[in-house]
Structure formats: C-alpha cells, structure tokens
Symmetry: C2
Subunit: 520 residues, 2 copies
Amino acid sequence: MATSSMLYNPPPITRSNKKRSLSIARAQKEAVLYPPHTSSSTQAIRLAASLSNLLHLHVEAPPGTEDLRFSKRVTSHDIEEKYSAPMKSPKEVISSKWREMHGSSDWKDLLDPLHPWLRREIIKYGELAQATYDAFDFDSFSEYCGSCRYNKHKLFDELGLKQNGYKVTEYIYAMSHMEIPRWLERSRLVDTWSKDSNWIGYVACSDDEETCRIGRRDILVAWRGTVAPSEWYEDFQRKLEPIGHGDDHHARVEHGFLSIYTSKSKSTRYNKSSASEQVMSEIRKLVNLYRDRGEEVSLTITGHSLGGALALLNAHEASSTIPNLPVSVISFGAPRVGNGAFRDELHQKGVKTLRVVVKQDMVPKMPGLVFNEGLERFDEHITGALEWVYTHVGAELKLDVQSSPYLKHGLNFLGFHMTETYLHLVDGFLSTRSNFRVDAKRDVALVNKACDMLVDELRVPHSWYQLGNKGLVCNEYGRWVKPRRDPEDIPSPIEGAQKHNLNIEEAQKGRERLVHLQSL
Amino acid sequence: MATSSMLYNPPPITRSNKKRSLSIARAQKEAVLYPPHTSSSTQAIRLAASLSNLLHLHVEAPPGTEDLRFSKRVTSHDIEEKYSAPMKSPKEVISSKWREMHGSSDWKDLLDPLHPWLRREIIKYGELAQATYDAFDFDSFSEYCGSCRYNKHKLFDELGLKQNGYKVTEYIYAMSHMEIPRWLERSRLVDTWSKDSNWIGYVACSDDEETCRIGRRDILVAWRGTVAPSEWYEDFQRKLEPIGHGDDHHARVEHGFLSIYTSKSKSTRYNKSSASEQVMSEIRKLVNLYRDRGEEVSLTITGHSLGGALALLNAHEASSTIPNLPVSVISFGAPRVGNGAFRDELHQKGVKTLRVVVKQDMVPKMPGLVFNEGLERFDEHITGALEWVYTHVGAELKLDVQSSPYLKHGLNFLGFHMTETYLHLVDGFLSTRSNFRVDAKRDVALVNKACDMLVDELRVPHSWYQLGNKGLVCNEYGRWVKPRRDPEDIPSPIEGAQKHNLNIEEAQKGRERLVHLQSL
C-alpha cells in the first residue's frame, strides 16, 4: 500500500468540470437512461481498454493514451499487473489510533482527506452490512423466504468475507413487513416467514487476529436494509414516536423504524422476543464475556438504508444500558431517523455516528424531503427545537457519483442507493478536491451486482448477482427441481435461550393447514 | 407406455367450459396479468400439491381430492412415483410407419387424435429446434455474441439432447440483423458478429440406433427463430419477393425471410457464402454419403417462429434440387411465408409441412394480420390467386393454452409463442375433444425457462433459464471476471471447405482497429 504521505498529498490535478446533460427520465426503479456524450465516450473507451483487460477481455489499451483524469498513463504493464492484483492493500495495524478511527473526536481531520485507515474500516463495515442482502433468501416460492440462506457458521465463508476477521455469533430477526404474493397469503402455505419475521441482521465479533490489529475486541452488529425499493415507502410512515424512558419525552424517532426494532408477538415463530431484545441480549453477553477476560471492547453498529436507521436505534439503546462502552454507528445511505432532541440524546450518551452519503441518493433525504429542505435554512437552534422535524445525526462523509469515471451518471435512483456503489466511491475517495483514486483496488465489477451503474464500455453485465437457473437443478431424471436446503441451513428460532428444530414441526403444521384448507 | 388403444379411446370426460374473465391488459412482451379465479384457484392448489412434490417441495396432496379435469384421482402414491419418473416413455420402433409419420399422407388421421408416435416425433424435433435458442450467445458484451456457445461436437451434450439420437454435422450462419447497443456500433469492437453473421442453425443426422428405430437415415436441419420479440417487426417487411427460377414467377415469399436465407457478403467473416449455400452443400453431402451406402434418406427441417419460415424456404430449395428426397417441415409458431402460388409449388414438389400452432399465439397470424383475416372468408380460389396475399402451407396441429391446467391463461404474448409452451401443449394433447393428457411426462418446469406461463401455485420461478452470475466467475484474487471461451468453442468460419482460426486473426484485427480509433 502506498505510504500515507503520498495519499495525504495527492498530486494536483485539474478536475474537468464538464456538466453532463441529463435527460429527465421518469423515476423508475431500475431505469438508466443517459445520452451518449462524445468526449466522455472516448475517455470511457480508453478506460474500457485498460479495464477490459482487468476483466480478462481481449481489448488492449492502445499505447500512449493520455487521460487527464488519471495521474499517470496507463501502460500495458499496469494492465497485466492489475488483473492478478489483490483487491485490497495489505492490512495495517491501527491499534494506536483505534479510538479516533472509531469516532472519538467525531472523525475530525480524518474525512477530508480521507485517512486510508479509516477508508479501510469503512469498507470493512460496508461489506459486513452488504452481507445482510447477499445472503437473504427473498425467493417468494421458497418455504424459507425471509430467512438467511446459510447458518451463522457458514455465512462469511459462503460470501467470501472471512478475510474481514469477524465471526458471527447470533442472528437477529424482526417483524418486518415484506411483500408476499397474494396467492401465498391466500394459501397460507407460509405463515411466519415473509409476513411476520424476517432475518434482519446479525451480531459478530472480531477474531483474535483482527482484535490485535484494531486494538480492541469489536462487537459488530449489522442490520439489513430494505430488500426492494418498493418497501421504502411502506417503512416510512412519517410519524414521529417517542423513544426512551426518560421524563423528558422530547426525543422522537420515525414510527416505522421503531416498530421494526421493537415489535414482537407470541404468534410468530421468530419474534416472540423483539429484535431489540435479541440484539441487546447478545451484546450484553459478549461485552461481559470479553470484559471478564480483561479486554477492551467496542460496539460498532452498521447498516445500509433502513439498516442504518435501525443501527441508530440500536446505538441509542446500547449506550443507554451498557456503561462505558464506546458505541459507534457507520451507516450507508441511511434516512433521517429522529428529531433534534433524539440527535442531542445520542450526542449526550457519547454515541458517534458516521453517515456515509452519496449526494445523488434520495434516501438520506427521507423522510422529511418535502417539508424539511426548506427549513434547513433556518437557524439550527430553531429547527432543533421543533420536535417534529427529522434531522440527521453525526458526521458525514459525502460522496459524488460524478467523481467516478467508472459510473454512468444518468438518473438511476436505485443505483445511487446501492451499497456497492457506496463502497466503490469510498474506495476511490481521496478528498473533495481530488479525482478518483488511481490505485483504488476494489473490484469495480461489484458495483453492477444488483443494478446498472457501470459504463457499458466496461462490458460488465448489469444486475449480475444471480443464481444459475434461479436455484433449480436437474435431477437424475432430467427434471428441474428446487433442491432442499441442507438441514444445517434450516433456521432455528430464538426464544430466550431455547432453540427449536423447525423442520419437522413446521412441515407437519404446513400439512395440517393444507388439509384443513382443502376441506373447506 | 400405455397401449395405443387406450390413447385412441380416451375415457369420456365432460370438459368444464368455464370462460375465464380476462382483464384486458396492455400488450406487453412479458406481462402476465390475470385475475384470481376462485374455483380454478382451488383446483390449482390441489394441482400444486401434487406437482409441488414433483418439484421436491414439502406440500403434500390432501387425500381424496377430486379434480374433474383429470381422468383419475391424484393420490400420494402417484406423486411419489412421478418425481422419480423418467421424462419420456420408452422409445418405440416406428420404422413400419415412418413415411406416414413423415407426412406422406399429410398426416391424415394422425393429428386428431394425435398418434403417440407422432407426438414423440414432434417433441423430438421441437427440442432440436429449441436447441438453437438455448445455446445461442446473446450476450452483447461478449466478443462472440451471435455465435453458438459450444462447438458442434458438444452441443447436444451440453444441452442434454444426446438421447434424441442425432449428431450435429455442421453449423449454419446467416446475415441476420440483431440489435446491438449503440456504443458497440460506435466503438467497432465487434464487427462481423452481431451486425452481420449469426449462428442461425445446424445440420444433424440420426445416429445408427435412431436410424434403425425410425426406419431411415434422417437428415435434420434446425433453424433458429428470433432471439428477442423486438426483432419480429424488423424481420417482417411485408413485401413479397419472387422465389425460384422457373418461368412462372408467381411464387412469392416474404422479403425479410428470403433476405436472411440468401444474403452473403465478402466483407463478412461467416457469410461469404449464404445460409442457403451452406445448408444445401451439407445436405447434398450427407444425402450422397448415405445413398452411396444404400440407405434410405429423409430430410426433416424444423424451426420455431422465424426459424419455421426459414425451414420452408430451405424445403423449397431442397425439393427443387435433390430428386426423390422425402422432404418434410415441422414448424412451431411459424408466420406465414409466401403466397398461394408458393404454397402450390411446395405441394407440387412433394414437400410435406406440419405447422404446430397455438391458437393464442399472434405470430402464426403474421404477416398479413391486418389485411388477410378479412379475406379468409372469401373463396379460397380467389385469395390463392392473389399474388400478394400471404397464405399458410400444409397441415396444422392446433393447440390451446386453455387446455392445460398448468398454464396461466391471462394475456402473455411472449409466453404463448415460446417453444417450451408449444412442447408442453403437444405433450398433453390427446385430441380436440379431450382434456390434457394425464400421463403427460414432460417436465412442466421447462415451460418457465424464459417466460412466466406456469400457475404460481407450482412455485416454479419464471424465466429461470440463466447463467449463475451472468457468466462471471470469481478468480483467485476475488475479482469477478468473464472467463474466456475454451479454444474448442471459438467458432471457425465456413468458407467453402476452408476453415480459419478466429482467435489470433480476430484479436489482431481488433487491436489494430482500436489503435486506429484512438488515433482519430
């Protein structure tokens, strides 16, 4: 990895400030419409040449091409080097500055320019947040729709996240409404999964090696955001509810988020206890375990979108109930969560929040998009006192889609919001006055996992993260069938400390229900 | 397999004639909108129970359910039997009736009820036609877009079609316009593939075992149809062109089809000779080879959609140039191709055509949908003489989407047209007076390979035929890359008998072109 001095003092580059003409397209979930722009196409083609080789395609970079957006010329030597290059720089030991990295000084002087150690930590947490999507079973035809596809011991292995140095200790479930097809509701084939309880995240803990590198035992909670953009509007009910138990009930948070965090019901299988109860129980357990060993412990809570909102609620609770615990939130594309008083309480309790925000992303502007933007011009004191006004919390790392030559710049509400877009931009971020980092190593192809953000010249398919044949396999008779889950991947509900075996009981209940239905 | 008497005399069943109320949805390529219909939902649920087990899901059929649409009750015993049941009945030797099966008597008395031997042959040819889609590389980011993904020796293996008993001998390419993204055109990275030459089909031949079973050496030509529905309209130019070399130029065929069949250009890599020249050269070679051995030889030409149209043109040419060769066309969802005089010529030359048509499919009604339907009421003699009126050729096997309890009945123009829908309906067809065949064995899941036709209760994902991660794989550095094709799968152009090695020459030309582009 380049020395920090080189990164702190990037070579002066004149950023081209061409404004791209955007066609105003209807806001569609996945639509990308952008007019071809001649000079940027040429640049893109040159870029494509180098990156196409990165992606093992036959197009070579022509010699001697000059690109003002990069600090040095791309040569064929660089190209050959890159596609056998690791995706990350070697890890550095950050224990000497861990508290600052964790936000003890509100990340002062660490965000612009972005400190390389902090960049790595942000990407680490972002990947751990992204895991909550990648492993989520959203197949409405699956009997386990709404659960995690893998058991907690396998999760990081299956997703290639072992190298982050964490181990999952427990899964969290929440009563979170998900869209399920009408026929499924009618048939009652699936009761508790998609309707009531969903896998909403997990608790993990740094392993010994990572603990050593980062200077303390880090308890990590990752919260899943919304699975589909259509759920955004369902989650936002534009109504602030009080939070906390103090006499002073001025702290209020958005109703929908709070509901997800605290709901429980005896009739569900996985939320006889709420997400809040589940997560706090596990956090306490781990804090005690490691403090008893004499270790320093921190709590880092992360999440994207809705998950970032849940992270704040979690942070509020944890800081209220566990003394002397450094609690930080690293969120990605999170909406506003509560009012000024809520923000003040978090501040009082010592919670440090770093919001990673893409300028073009609509979600961080929600809720309160309609009435809040106008108020921002008022005196901060006045707006803070207005209990019903949502406000953001903490420090902000602001990213810009237009800073990356790899991304299409046309309207793409979904693409602007995706975690992988965020991580790409963090990876390339040097400072607000610099261009995209030349030695950014993170695999650019990841951006297009679930959207269409990369310029076509890179020839990366859009929305490519998919199961072959949607999970169907051909059996010995040539029939295409859905294989059963490994028994070890069939989720066990949490009920206090009691665990049930889902398989037999559920199947039996399912059959009984179907027989009953047929007899109607 | 059940005896033919049982199949010829199906048990009398009162078919429920409920008309489904269809909501009139806008015609969308892939839209399926259908209102839930209570009694059919109940039926569907019962059906789902049995078929869900077929698909290895946990839902059991309730005992004692009665379904008027089936000739017998479904019991759990049948269910368990089915999912370890082969997809096809054991093969029968048809050599004693091969000429009739090949249409020597225009399939008289073989279509309604459908003779089981003929059913099997139709499905065989349909699967061989479907192969032209399943192996087609339509990835616009691939440098081999427009070619077959596999070399000719592997094709049937890769697609699981070995058991049909044919071997591919040669591939055919045609100058067929395909949509390519604008940036690709501009960059000239891909020249001959998507713009000029595409893999349009193949020639195959029955192996010794199949030859024995069917009573003659069958030369098979399969033509590919349009890859995307949007191409339909490009192919149809609504202009009849003369065909053939006779004095009497009254036989006319649709211009677009003829153009694809006969175009060639020295500037292309794969169509220095036309599709017509390529296919006739191979057919002649095989006919001579096997006749020299003293074998009986037949020519069967098959295709879906546009492919069915090309099949007719091929049949016209083959019957005009090779004497005493039984030539038959089995087409699926083919549009009209030529006028009455064209139809008469084919008839004169002894070509036998069996058009498999789904009643709800729009394509067989094209071209001429606008002006032809009114004319059909006129005296056949008058319309035949009208040189500019498209007309159908041969015998027809008419299928109905509503005959299958497995299919959604709402508007679905794409789904009505898909080969897999056709093959499902052929598999279930007994006669126009019977219900869907109870012991139809073909895997129902296949219907949803590339559309959304199966009732949801079956829980088969729609459009499931897809590459995992769209063909990207994770290399040793954790980067997602497009693997190169095996050298053996890189296509070699046909130029007479000369074959070139694409790889080196193409790559070099590609580089030169790119360098030239950069220097502009």
